[in-house]
């Protein structure tokens, strides 16, 4: 088999442009996903039981069904109920709604690692709740959840390849378009995979670095 990377090299600027869109999309999705996750965490502790049930149902469905179906659902169903949104928005919305269900678990894990005694101590010296959150819980939680959130960013970066199906011109879609023009699928998929690999392993390295740093701070 002879590989010919000339087309892939020629297409590199286009692929890099696509990679930029992939990065933008997944960054946007991870930020919105954190917002969804925070909302779910708060609603999950609501004093009203049906609200808590609804949260658990949402999390279970989001995690129990493929992201691909969720993307198709948002893309095809929303216009049906009169919400005409661009594909890019539909894609980011689907990714964030999905990610939120995983972010809740990350946040819960982070919060549960802080000893309860710290809240009690804060209360016993007369700190109001808001102050306990700001000075005791949040700084520690953020250090704890930053590494797993970076891993979540990596997951979304890979998952955003599925947006190619609803024709968001990100990295995978760009590769498909170039393949349609040059018919060099193997070379282009190798090049595309390499770009994803570089982005994901850089993020993975960042996550490990953040983890080491958090561990040093705790010690």
């Amino acid at each position: 088999m002879n590989l010919d990377f000339r087309y892939a090299l020629q297409a590199l600027p286009l692929l890099l442009q696509g990679a930029l869109v992939t990065l933008e999309t997944s960054l946007l999705a991870v930020v919105l996903g954190i917002a969804v996750g925070i909302a779910l965490t708060l609603l999950g502790q609501a004093p009203i039981r049906p609200v808590r049930w609804a949260c658990q149902l949402y999390i279970s469905v989001m995690r129990g069904t493929p992201l691909f179906i969720q993307i198709l659902m948002v893309y095809y169903v929303l216009p049906g109920v009169g919400l005409d949104i661009p594909r890019f928005v539909a894609g980011v919305v689907a990714l964030s709604l999905n990610s939120g269900a995983y972010v809740t678990e990350i946040l819960r894990g982070g919060l549960s690692m802080i000893p309860r005694g710290q809240v009690d101590a804060g209360r016993s010296v007369g700190m109001p709740r808001a102050l306990i959150w700001r000075h005791v819980l949040l700084p520690q939680t953020i250090a704890l959840v930053l590494p797993p959130l970076t891993v979540e960013f990596t997951s979304l970066l890979k998952a955003s390849a599925l947006l190619s199906v609803i024709a968001v011109i990100e990295l995978t879609r760009t590769a498909q378009q170039i393949i349609a023009a040059t018919f060099r699928p193997v070379e282009l998929w190798l090049a595309t995979g390499a770009l994803y690999f570089v982005m994901c392993s850089a993020l993975g390295g960042t996550a490990r670095w953040l983890e080491r740093r958090a561990a040093v701070h705790r010690a």
């Binding site: 088999m1 658990q56 999390i59 279970s60 469905v61 995690r63 129990g64 069904t65 493929p66 992201l67 691909f68 179906i69 969720q70 198709l72 659902m73 095809y76 169903v77 049906g80 109920v81 995983y102 990596t154 997951s155 890979k158 998952a159 390849a161 599925l162 190619s164 199906v165 995978t172 590769a175 699928p185 193997v186 998929w189 190798l190 595309t192 995979g193 994803y196 690999f197 994901c200 392993s201 993975g204």
Partner: protein, 234 residues
């Protein structure tokens, strides 16, 4: 918007066939992936560099690229070697290669979760490496391995929906078929989502029961845990 049940009444055989294909692909990928994954995990755990690093590279490459790109690459790569395979076979191979990397990490983590002293003690009484693995490590790693493998398998089932893009006629493809015939997007996707949800819940509950049985009295009371599906695809 209205939910038209008659669409489902007319098209249900398409969904059933799709579900059957999804289960078939996932079970085959699970078996192949576990075999390959065990080999990769053992290679990563070995002290020989020439076994260790190719396995590590394999796991990293699979984990740091989207499954969709892997599936496309395999789908287009095989014909280059004059291997003509139906899409379903190519899909199962892609899914098994993807699963192997995930399973390998689960298995490696499970082996490493067993206290070091256990293997050292076995070595001290003269057990070989393989015998230590079989008699000492394997029984003790199960409490760690089963939940972890469950998550990875659920991830694999969800990831298998991507195979519809390379024209494998599985459950997600069924929704496109129904959509093409009836234009009933809400109904088609709801049915498919419900079937996937049922499938992943069943795996979660079933493996939870297996876990409790194998763990025996050591297990803490977490009866609700199987309802919290964990596996993350991609």
């Amino acid at each position: 918007m209205r939910f038209d049940l008659s669409v489902i009444a007319e098209t249900w055989p398409i969904f059933v066939r799709g579900l059957g294909f999804t289960i078939l692909c996932c079970v085959l990928a699970l078996v192949l992936g576990l075999i390959l994954g065990t080999i990769v995990a053992l290679a990563r755990l070995s002290h020989r560099g020439w076994l260790q690093w190719p396995a590590a590279v394999y796991v990293e490459v699979i984990r740091d690229t989207p499954f969709l790109v892997q599936a496309f690459l395999i789908y287009f790569l095989l014909p280059r070697y004059h291997i003509r395979l139906p899409a379903t076979t190519a899909g199962i191979i892609a899914l098994a290669l993807y699963g192997a990397a995930a399973f390998a990490e689960s298995i490696r983590g499970a082996v490493l979760s067993v206290a070091r002293g256990q293997a050292e003690a076995a070595r001290a009484v003269g057990m070989s490496h393989l015998l230590t693995m079989r008699r000492i490590i394997r029984p003790q790693m199960m409490t760690y391995l089963i939940p972890s493998l469950t998550n990875q398998f659920i991830g694999l089932v969800k990831e298998s929906s991507v195979l519809s893009i390379i024209t494998v006629p599985e459950l997600t493809m069924a929704s496109s078929l129904v959509l093409g015939r009836t234009f009933a997007a809400v109904e088609a996707y709801s049915v498919v989502a419900a079937l996937y949800w049922g499938l992943t819940l069943a795996i979660s509950v079933g493996m939870g029961a297996l876990e409790r049985r194998m763990a025996g009295p050591l297990q803490s009371g977490r009866a609700w845990a199987p309802l919290l599906i964990e596996g993350r695809e991609s």
